[in-house]
Amino acid sequence: MNPGGRDERRLGWLLCAPAVVAMLVVTAYPILYAIWLSLFRYDLRFPDHREFIGLANYASVLTSEVWWQALVNTLIITAGSVVFELVFGIALALLMHLTTVGRRIVRTAVLVPYATITVVAALAWKFAFDPTTGFINGLLGLENAWLTERWSAFFVIIFTEIWKTTPFMALLLLAGLTLIPEDLVRAARVDGASTWQRFWRIILPLMKPTVLVALLFRTLDAFRIFDTVYVQTRGAQDTETVSIVGYNTLIVRLNLGLGSAVSVLIFCGVLLIAFLFIKGFGASLHEQREDRP
């Protein structure tokens, strides 16, 4: 490397430095501090009794039925919402992509739920499903107290999540759709491929990377679900998620050590999901790169 290039490189680093420092301060510091706190017995109610206890907090969390139950609940909500969001998301993305009349209106209408604040959406659906104030029971001719039983409460939570974030999925998938070369689809049509074959054999395989990115984003988000559950059930009826457990330990019980251990474990869960996706996803990216000379 010539001296001029090196100078430019250094300048580049210098110019990046403020951003890197800001990132470290606002993200790395809290993460490291949480890991540090998780090694202590530290309760804000007894600030003087702080002591180093190593990994005991983790042992305590991992041997607790509460944690595993919450993890199962979180996975139920994650799987339930992400699968339907993907299906509806593709449908909406196709709709947005193929509409020729009133394109802007269609796209705006589809995006409205995503623009709604989660707490507002959760409250709105809570009221909608309420036996006295809601319209759902009237519509279906039922007399259910939806949020008082476990599975119907899960249904309401997952339904709210799907309603709220399908547009996000659709938006990401729309970006993937627009990248597919028109010519390829037209060529397939000339060759006699039906609409279904074109979708299944041409469009979907080409969208695979986008689908995986969209799935990754939504799975990570869904795994950390907090506000919908907090507003609708507060974790009652056995709908507690890992984030609610973290909240209860940190904010309600003020147990910083144990709560930080929960947070770190949630973080590990997120890392694991990202790792699994990127392994699967990385392979498919690789394939594609090799396909293209």
Binding site: L44, S60, V66, V252
Partner: protein, 423 residues
């Protein structure tokens, strides 16, 4: 790029403006309060009748300009009040002066150093002639930490048109309720929350047991009474007289159900009396009251006391004035108004003979009797954890297995006392 620079610069200006104005606000407020009389903030649950607002105004007037009290309403749910308060108290927020404390917070707040011990000079004045259980609820480690303001305890409510004399013990009550046949004849609180803990503690105390030992740091939960109480809870919940939605019933659901006229029995706080008078006069006409049923004929029932104590934030700017203001707020005149206007039972014992109070509380004698023999919920700094451990272990009541769950309960409470494990 150039045309982007201007909006960006404006945005920056705007943000700086907002930030500086936000920072400046409290400062200007302080300067004013230093010049004039200090403003004392009273954080307390949003009382709907305006009795607390009136009390704050009256005490400000009585102070003759030495301080002005302002009310800062908190949510009505005690858990949410605590959540908001503890975060600010742990951060030593000086903007809180007087705290409207649920009777169960004393030990936690005192141990953490969030509230100041009551000055010896006026301790006697704020505890004199008050119900001893209410005063005890404000004491921790031989010191008084708050002024007892209002009190509360459950009674048994029943329909006098269907039942001549109220059952005295639980087994009789269940038997009697079952003769009416329909589910929901007996209304009580079975959701997984503080109300379930209160129900358990009241039953346990009536059976002669207690959750913690006398030192307050070890588990008691004596085997015989605990198993007896757990069997009773299971029996109540699986009785055909219990409500189908018992597992999600809180005080308000029980009240609403009773107001439909279907149920015959309900255990609940006295607010149900004025409520049914307003919402269901036909039910109210036949609504009668009695002391909570007991477990056996040898002992009378003992109910967990509720209510509100007034404490002073340890980081308050004017603690001296705050104590004075809190004493005024908890004084006789304000207790009468809280009772008459807000329906909150007083802590001053003599007020139960006051004609105005008795008009609002026709059940004053039963209530006073209950309160005189009331029991305190465990006085430990980790009460919140202990309560969670109890309500989580015993919910839903119909699935209780008395012997196994008595052991699980001991274990859960022990873990909570050591602040170990998730709850």
């Amino acid at each position: 790029m150039r045309h982007h620079a201007i909006p960006g610069y404006r945005l920056l200006l705007l943000i700086t403006g907002v930030l500086t104005s936000a920072v400046n606000c409290p400062n200007t407020g302080d300067r004013e309060s230093d010049r004039e009389s200090p403003v004392l903030a009273w954080y307390v649950f949003a009382e709907p009748s305006g009795a607390f607002r009136g009390a704050a105004k009256r005490c400000s007037q009585l102070a003759g300009g030495r301080f002005t009290l302002v009310l800062k309403p908190l949510p009505t749910d005690a858990d949410q009040q605590r959540e908001q308060l503890v975060r600010r108290l742990a951060a030593a927020d000086p903007d809180i002066d007087i705290i409207g404390m649920d009777v169960i917070w004393t030990a936690e707040f005192a141990e953490a150093g969030w509230i100041l011990p009551w000055p010896a000079a006026s301790s006697k004045r704020v505890s004199m002639e008050r119900l001893s259980a209410a005063v005890e609820s404000a004491r921790y480690k031989n010191r008084l930490w708050a002024a007892p303001f209002t009190s509360n305890a459950q009674l048994l409510w029943y329909r006098s048109d269907r039942v001549k004399s109220p059952p005295r013990i639980w087994h009789e009550l269940i038997e009697k309720a079952e003769t009416f046949g329909s589910p929901g004849t007996l209304q009580l609180q079975g959701q997984r929350y503080e109300g379930l803990t209160v129900f358990f503690i009241s039953l346990l105390a009536s059976a002669g047991g207690s959750v913690l030992d006398e030192s307050g740091s070890g588990v008691a939960l004596e085997e015989a009474p605990t198993v007896e109480v757990l069997s009773l809870m299971k029996k109540i919940a699986s009785s055909p007289a219990a409500d189908r939605a018992l597992a999600t019933a809180r005080e308000d659901q029980a009240r609403l159900a009773f107001e439909t006229g279907e149920p015959t029995f309900m255990v609940n706080y006295p607010f149900v009396w004025s409520s049914s008078r307003q919402n269901a006069p036909k039910v109210a006409a036949h609504m009668a009251f009695a002391r909570w049923p007991s477990i056996n004929r040898h002992h009378l029932s003992r109910i967990a006391i509720g209510g509100l104590n007034l404490g002073v934030n340890a980081s308050a700017r004017h603690p001296g004035l705050a104590f004075e203001a809190a004493e005024c707020l908890a004084s006789k005149a304000n207790q009468v108004i809280a009772a008459k206007q807000g329906g909150l039972p007083p802590t001053l014992e003599t007020l139960y003979d006051d004609p105005e109070v008795r008009q609002r509380f026709p059940f004053a004698d039963s209530l006073r009797e209950t309160l005189r023999e009331a029991v305190l919920r465990p006085r430990t700094p980790v009460y919140n954890d202990v309560s969670l451990a109890i309500s989580r272990t015993l919910h839903p009541m119909r699935d209780i297995d008395p012997v196994t769950d008595a052991k699980r309960l001991r274990k859960a409470v022990a873990r909570a006392l050591n602040s170990e494990g998730l709850l």
